[in-house]
Amino acid sequence: MKPLLITHGRVIDPASGGDGLADILIRDGRIESVGTGLSDPDAVVFNAAGAIVAPGFIDMHVHLREPGIEHAETIETGARAAAAGGFTTICCMPNTLPVNDSATVTSYIVQRAREVALVNVFPIGAITKGSLGEELAAIGSMRSAGIVAISDDGRPVMNARVMRRAMELARAFDLPVIDHCEDLNLSAGGDMHEGRESVRLGLGGIPSASEDVMVARDLLLAELTGARFHVAHLSTSRSVEMVAYAKSRGIKVSCEVTPHHFAITDEELSTYDSNYKMKPPLRCRYDADAVINGIAAGVVDAIATDHAPHAGNDKMQEFERCPFGITGLETAIGLSLAELVHKDRISVNRMVELFTTGPANILKLDRGTLAPGAPADVTIFDLDSQWTYDVQQSLSKSRNSPFGGRRFRGGPLATIVDGEIVWNRP
């Protein structure tokens, strides 16, 4: 492979604190050097003038549906959508068929990703067998096979004793425990956020408290066990407050938020469009503002999409019968720029951090940095190009995004994985 020289871009590298016009020379899949006036006669040159050049973005929360639900997504198509969204690394949740609760399934995903995926894929293993919440999965063997965290995402562990044991084991194996915090008794029968809008629309409500009580429980268990606990798709005001408090107490906690939870609210549901149905549900303005404040205040560690593809016919039903989840890989940068950076809530540097060093530190990945010698994963994006998201052209196998037709200012331009350009904006 020829060396790659990215020139004239504004290089932002949160790991080193660097921010300025520079060139990046990549050789043999690794960053060779970052500096001004770099040259190499053999190199392929990528002119990034006017663009931002950042470490490859990491999405620590996606659903790739393979094995078992390939009509909705595959490792190949999901990874392609990730590349088109500016992501160089994605972490896939274990709720496949079968559930990724053993080294066999983990190895299958790792192997398959190596064969077909345009980007790096790191699996997340189940906490319990079959994610049934009862018996611990083969956590140690899965770690040897390549998992970077454990989670029963979507089917949260209700039994606090089981969660305690999982955290103890995770601590021993140095894996973070990612919890989809939802008390299933409180959320039962719910299809959207409980509040004025659910009352108006006559849809079952999912109270914010169903998230908050589990965040509280897990924080206490994290304190008890010393485990690293990560809150998936945090969506409520109280949970932001509790995570901030726990951090001040020295509890090892981190959290992620999704673009949809800070970009839109439950007021979008008036048309009963199932592309607004996900868990946790779109909350009210108060919660969405709290999430944004949490990002600005540094409580939030990462932005993750919870990309959850569903085949068209699954979403073409009565609202209450539709499955939860929306796609998100291709719109994450656009939404983050629109809602956080262009509205002056955070700097673009902080946004890059939320997509790079943030998740990399939680998962202890050797990525998310442009340090010489690091794997050459690079995301190139800009702040001002005008583009419209055409969901029918999505590289995902599914189309269940509420952002089809939305106009964006700024977005991904090119995605480079291990020194190779895997996607260019058409």
Binding site: R196, V199, R200, L201, G202, Y272, E318, F319
Partner: protein
């Protein structure tokens, strides 16, 4: 964008209707009300039109009422109960409706257990859809017939005090009535046990207040609307079952607290001894059967407005 309200497109909910549209329907319904002892007027305003009544949920009065209303206007009607149809063989709602639309009816009247089902269909089909009750969301023609019934007893809705009592949370009748009455400046009191009366109802429309005690809700009421307890929609009992009637059932002695000419309404079917006593149901104050009768007049007005080309 979905087309909502009575547009050429159909009738999906009361919330998005203008007050003047409601007034137009109520006036026209008055025209359709029969003289004492007479049958409903027969017109041929909808001759040659076909209306499909598609009922995904059991219903007697609403379905029959829509059928009679359509026939009195000269339309042809087909009624389908989803049990026993292709819907019970696993066909999706959209496929069922597409199949029906291919048979070129002029409108579909639909009852469905899922909130928003008619709104969902209206986005995907080019045919007027009339909501005959969707889940726990709205039941627009019920609110219209309730308003017609009140107006038969009072000169205007403005300034009235209406108490709606029972399982508010799961009631599409309550939602539609709240939206309609609020548009006319009615003082609305909602009453029920806390788990069946979420606080957010106060924000549903202007003029709504909540009460957890019957006596407070009924004091000085012009109208008392009792709702059925919808056990089938509840995940758990709101309170000990013996206590429900004791605290939220309407008995004769309650009526003394209300205005002397108070009227008692119920969308039916009534459970005697559960939400109201037999004595109340059969009392002079009860207008429950007038509601049933007005159902036909109001639905004639709605069908004519949507399909008849009359303003």
């Amino acid at each position: 964008m979905p087309i909502r309200g009575v547009k050429p497109a159909g009738l999906l909910d009361i919330e998005s209707l203008e007050r003047t549209e409601i007034e137009g329907i109520l006036e026209r319904a008055h025209f359709f009300q029969p003289e004492d002892g007479q049958p409903f007027r027969r017109l041929d305003a909808l001759r040659g039109k076909t209306i499909v009544n598609l009922f995904y949920e059991a219903s007697t009065r609403t379905r029959v009422s829509f059928e009679i209303a359509a026939k009195r206007l000269g339309a042809d009607t087909v009624s389908i109960a989803a049990q026993g149809s292709s819907a019970s063989k696993g066909e999706s709602l959209v496929d069922t409706l597409n199949t029906l639309v291919a048979m070129r009816p002029n409108a579909i009247v639909m009852r469905h257990a899922a909130s928003g089902a008619p709104h969902f269909l209206a986005r995907h089909l080019q045919i007027p859809i009339i909501n005959a009750g969707d889940g726990t969301h709205e039941h627009p023609t019920q609110a219209l017939l309730d308003a017609r019934t009140i107006l038969d007893q009072r000169p205007t809705l403005e300034g009235l005090r209406v108490a709606i009592i029972g399982d508010i949370a799961h009631s599409r009748v309550a939602r539609s009535n709240v939206h309609l009455l609020a548009k006319f400046g009615v003082d609305i009191v909602l009453c029920g046990p806390p788990s069946l009366l979420p606080e957010e109802f106060e924000q549903l429309a202007p003029g709504v207040r909540l009460a957890y005690e019957m006596t407070e809700a009924i004091r000085d009421a012009d109208v008392i609307m009792m709702l059925r307890v919808q056990l089938e929609r509840q995940h758990e009992a709101p309170m000990s079952s013996g206590e429900y009637f004791r605290f939220y059932g309407l008995r004769l002695e309650h009526l003394a607290l209300a205005k002397s000419d108070v009227i008692v309404m119920h969308p039916g079917p009534i459970n005697r001894g559960r939400e109201l006593s037999s004595e109340v149901a059969d009392s002079q104050s009860s207008v429950i059967l007038n509601q049933v009768e007005n159902g036909i007049a109001v639905r004639m007005a709605v069908l004519e407005r949507i399909l008849g080309g009359v303003q």
